[in-house]
Amino acid sequence: MSIILDISKIDMVFPTPKGDFTALKEVSLKIAKGEFISLIGHSGCGKSTVLNVVAGLYEATRGGVVLNGKEVKEPGPERAVVFQNHSLLPWLTAYQNVELAVKQVFGKSKSKAEMKQWIEHNLALVHMDHAMHKRPDEISGGMKQRVGIARALAMEPEILLMDEPFGALDALTRAHMQDSLMEIQAELNNTVIMITHDVDEAVLLSDRIVMMTNGPAATVGEILDVKLERPRNRLQLAEDREYNHLRSAVLTFLYEKQRKVESIDSKKSLSSTPAQKEEATV
């Protein structure tokens, strides 16, 4: 498979009043076309920072990101982002939110009727066609996130970046959304990087799970291949030996291998350093 995205040795250093804070150190990752990658790690380990560098919202201090042979220097619609808290424009309807993106990306190449059809197609894909003329404050959290995904998909990105897309949802809604996302993924076969806290979500959705060490100077700890057959069914997988094995591998990494690193010292430095500042701005 061809490599579409190459994250090569990125360091991220944030200047702070107390001196520089190294959030990321030599993070490297190659992603193939059509791959679904999960980034998992404890809070404040810099997962979002990696995603923001790929998105172009942050500029890496050292190293760089190459997408399809071109270096990433600024944000762009070919690297669409689904933000953690939906980030819909509250004064626009679901349709208009997607329209803003579609007009920007396809304003020159598609006719008005084609754009309308494309917007409606994407909203139907996330099962939001029944409420496309509602505003964000009139729909539930899960529905907002669906619209956010539709907006990102409508840009026809080369890679889809999802920053804890279901983190703010309740467990049942989250399960629904994961199923929807798998459906969409089966249809479109997008390249995806998703940040998550949720071990089950990571195993269920991913082709590979990238586990990050704790910050400061976080980096890629282990990479786990998930070779479960698709389509995947959460009920059947619950009994599956391979699934449970993968699950416990991730849990072991997070709660045994990485826990040891989190000594009292590092905790202190975590709480007093810009890990929080980073969280706040991300």
Partner: protein, 332 residues
């Protein structure tokens, strides 16, 4: 037996109807009772206090005297209008006669130059305040957006804004008057100088809340929304039009409401001092006039000024509710 049952039934029906009516009444009472008590108490206090205040122009006017002046002011207005109609009728007749005598004569139409009535002054003041406010808004909102977008521009402008913001309109007025009479020279003026004086003074004083609120609204745009705009690579102008302005509409309106309130207060003071037509001039003229009705007429003007100020604020609030996507922002 039967009759007793039917009477009992009717009784319960009636009593339930009564409670319904009682509930309605108490709801209405809750809404209106407070304000009604407040207003009645104020009128009583005013009437009592007024009787005990002696001025060189007689007793301070109570509510009754002011009400009487409202009627009299309206009568004056009607009388003045009648005079004007008569004047134009006489002029027409006279011109017709001249033309009949000499067909080559071109009739001269002269404007009636009677004194402005209380109602005329209200209209003048309203036009002036709206014009001044609009000019201020046209300058302040774009400026506020610019300041909000760029911290560098903001830090350059901030000291100037902070210094000019607290300046009283009365300090501006002489400067405005001199500048207007020096620069606005025209044989056929489009608007009166006095109008320009009041209007510019109003604009200068009502600029600041709009500038400040707009810039705060723009500067506090959520990072997430900025990121959406960056990911979409929206051009600068589209970013402002589609993201920045809608997001700051609630704050812009808050600024506009504050500004309109200030504009109205400033206008009355400016009209008094500059002798420009309007409610302020009316108050000043009555004060200079010093008749036994003067104080009651001034008090009538005070009531009207307050009432118009209130209506302007309500109007702005309604506009905010119609225009703003954030339905909570117009709650107060």
């Amino acid at each position: 037996m039967n009759t007793i049952a039917s009477i009992a039934h009717r009784l319960t029906l009636e009593s339930s109807l009564m409670t319904l009516i009682k509930n309605k009444v108490s709801e209405g009472a809750k809404l209106f009772l407070g304000p009604v008590i407040g207003i009645v108490a104020f009128l009583l206090l005013w009437a009592t206090a007024a009787q005990n205040i002696d001025t060189s122009l007689g007793k301070f006017p109570g509510p009754a005297a002011v009400l009487e002046q409202f009627y009299s002011l309206y009568d004056d207005h009607a009388a003045e209008r009648d005079k004007a109609t008569l004047f134009y009728e006489r002029q027409d007749v006279r011109n017709a006669k001249r033309v009949a005598k000499d067909p080559s004569y071109e009739p001269k139409i002269r404007q009636y130059t009677g004194k402005e009535t209380f109602l005329d002054q209200i209209v003048t003041s309203l036009i002036t305040v709206m014009a001044g406010f609009l000019v201020a808004a046209i300058i302040a909102i774009p400026l506020g957006i610019l300041l909000g977008l760029s911290p560098a521009v903001n830090s350059a402008f901030n000291p100037i804004i902070q210094i000019f913001k607290p300046v009283s309109p009365l300090a501006w007025l002489p400067l405005v008057t001199m500048v207007v009479s020096a620069t606005y020279v025209s044989d056929d003026p489009w608007v009166a100088k006095s109008f320009l004086n009041s209007m510019i003074t109003v604009s200068l004083c009502s600029l600041w809340p709009m500038v400040i609120n707009t810039s705060i609204g723009v500067a506090s745009l959520e990072q997430d929304l900025k990121n959406v705009s960056r990911v979409l690579r929206l051009p600068a102008l589209t970013h402002v039009r589609k993201i920045v302005i809608p997001a700051s509409i609630p704050m812009i309106f808050t600024g506009m409401r504050m500004s309109l309130g200030i504009a109205w207060m400033v206008l009355i003071a400016a009209e008094m001092l500059a002798q420009s037509p309007g409610l302020g001039k009316f108050v000043w003229d009555e004060f200079q006039n010093g008749s036994s009705d003067s104080l009651a007429r001034i008090m009538a003007a005070v009531v009207v000024i307050g009432f118009i100020g209130y209506l302007l604020d309500r109007g702005m609030l309604q506009l905010q509710r119609i225009m703003s996507w954030d339905k909570n922002s117009g709650a107060i």
